[in-house]
């Protein structure tokens, strides 16, 4: 996230970053096009060109400490919103989204790739799949006991009130993990972009079989839609 946003910002303010200047010159992607004066020199070319994607993640002295301070509180707030949904505004959906946003924030500050390594694919998938299975399980237990789907008062919960804690269970171990897992997954997916042989995004020149032909047409459509907006 951070490198991406840095790039888009810097296209406006035409900085003189020596690393990018040399790298862009070597790939000379888009060098033949006419560019407005403020973009003519060092930073040109697509944001996903090798030069830009190869740009090392730059640390920010402002963002990193801020995120270090804010992230625990934001995550706790997400947990509170999730767990306290029965007595105050909020619930699993909102809390899960806030907890996923904390991960986005961390990726902002410490780089998407390192966050991706830190938060393995297993965790993301386990959250989403586990949440869906937990929700279905809570719904199906009363069915197994002869009731209706999600009939909370049949849940075999000792001591505690089965209706209230059944609903809490749906919110806390069902909806919140699904939302958090899927949102984190979308974030990492979009950071990766479209999967092609080159690992690029939108190069439709790879025509070795039918599926890749289809890729090219898909890319063209999406690029057109983006241009129209």
């Amino acid at each position: 996230m951070s490198d991406a946003v840095d790039d888009t910002d810097m296209t406006d303010t035409a900085t003189d970053d020596p690393v990018d200047a040399t790298a862009d010159a070597s790939t000379d992607e888009g060098a033949g096009e006419e560019l407005p004066p403020h973009r003519a020199a060092p930073r040109s070319g697509r944001l996903d060109s090798d030069a830009r994607q190869g740009t090392p993640y730059t640390e920010s002295q402002v963002i990193m400490p801020t995120v270090k301070v804010v992230a625990p509180f934001a995550f706790t707030f997400g947990l509170f919103i999730t767990f306290h949904g029965s007595g105050s505004p909020g619930g699993g959906f909102q809390g899960g989204a806030i907890m996923a946003a904390v991960v986005f924030m961390i990726a902002f500050a410490f780089g998407i790739e390192s966050t991706r390594d830190w938060l393995a694919n297993t965790v993301v998938v386990a959250l989403a799949v586990g949440g869906a299975l937990a929700f279905a399980g809570i719904g199906l237990v009363p069915v197994a006991l002869g009731g209706a789907f999600l009939q909370y008062d049949l849940l075999p919960i000792p001591i505690l009130d089965p209706v209230k804690y059944g609903m809490e269970g749906v919110e806390v171990i069902g909806i919140a993990p699904i939302v958090a897992g899927v949102l984190m997954g979308l974030f990492f997916l979009l950071a990766n972009g479209f999967a092609t042989e080159n690992g690029g995004f939108g190069n439709g020149s790879l025509d070795e079989d039918g599926s890749l032909d289809e890729d090219g047409s898909l890319d063209g459509e999406s690029a057109d839609a983006g241009g129209d907006r």
Binding site: P89, G131, G174, F194, T196, G226
Partner: protein, 208 residues
């Protein structure tokens, strides 16, 4: 246009959600200064989103629009909707759109704003005028006579029965998780399927 539509929806949705702890019927409110400035902010940011030529500017202004909508929902005592709007629209959607922009080409534009497409503006204006005509029949914001609030079979029934039947205080959550639990299960599965669909569309096999 979207701004106007969302506003109408927002004020309608605000009334039942305000119900929880405040059992007294809300007084018919005049438009306060805060409310008026929030409304103006939301309309301006919605117009800026539609007319901004640069996609990055449009995405950022769209985030500001969502933040204004979240504040407006809070002001109209719909905190559940406000939380969702702030977390999903202002936060997550903005980040995902920015990520997508970083993966595509950003075109430099001479003009800051889109030129107005006259047929589209005519169609939008026509629809807007039609919607304005219905404004006279919409109950005032916070009116105790509004059908969505005074309806004894739906809103008032849920407010009266929620705690007795589900043992939780938040009526919104009780409706979502208990009274309409099966619908919520469907929605959760839709979210899950959305993640799978994104994997398929982007030709990936792993999320991270």
């Amino acid at each position: 246009m979207t701004g106007a539509l969302s506003l109408a929806g927002g004020s309608a949705a605000a009334v039942p959600a305000s119900a929880g702890p405040l059992s007294a019927a809300p007084v018919v409110a005049q438009v306060t200064a805060i409310e008026a400035s929030l409304l103006a902010f939301v309309v301006l940011t919605a117009l800026a989103t539609a007319f901004a030529r640069d996609v990055l500017a449009a995405v950022i202004v769209f985030g500001a629009y969502s933040l204004g909508m979240a504040a407006l929902y809070t002001f109209y005592r719909a905190p559940d909707v406000a939380l969702t709007e702030a977390a999903i629209s202002a936060g997550v959607t903005t980040v995902l759109l920015l990520l997508t922009l970083a993966k595509t080409t950003r075109i430099d534009h001479e003009a800051a704003f889109e030129s107005v497409n006259l047929p589209a503006a005519g169609a939008a204006g026509f629809l807007f005028a039609g919607l304005l005509l219905t404004m006279g029949d919409i109950p005032a914001i916070g009116s105790p006579d509004a059908p969505v609030w005074s309806n004894p079979d739906v809103t008032q029934w849920y407010l009266a029965e929620t705690y007795a039947q589900t043992h939780v205080e938040n009526t919104v959550m009780a409706v979502l998780a208990a009274f309409r639990g099966f619908d919520t299960f469907g929605e959760a599965v839709v979210v899950f399927a959305g993640g799978i669909a994104a994997l398929l569309v982007l030709h990936r096999e792993v999320f991270a």
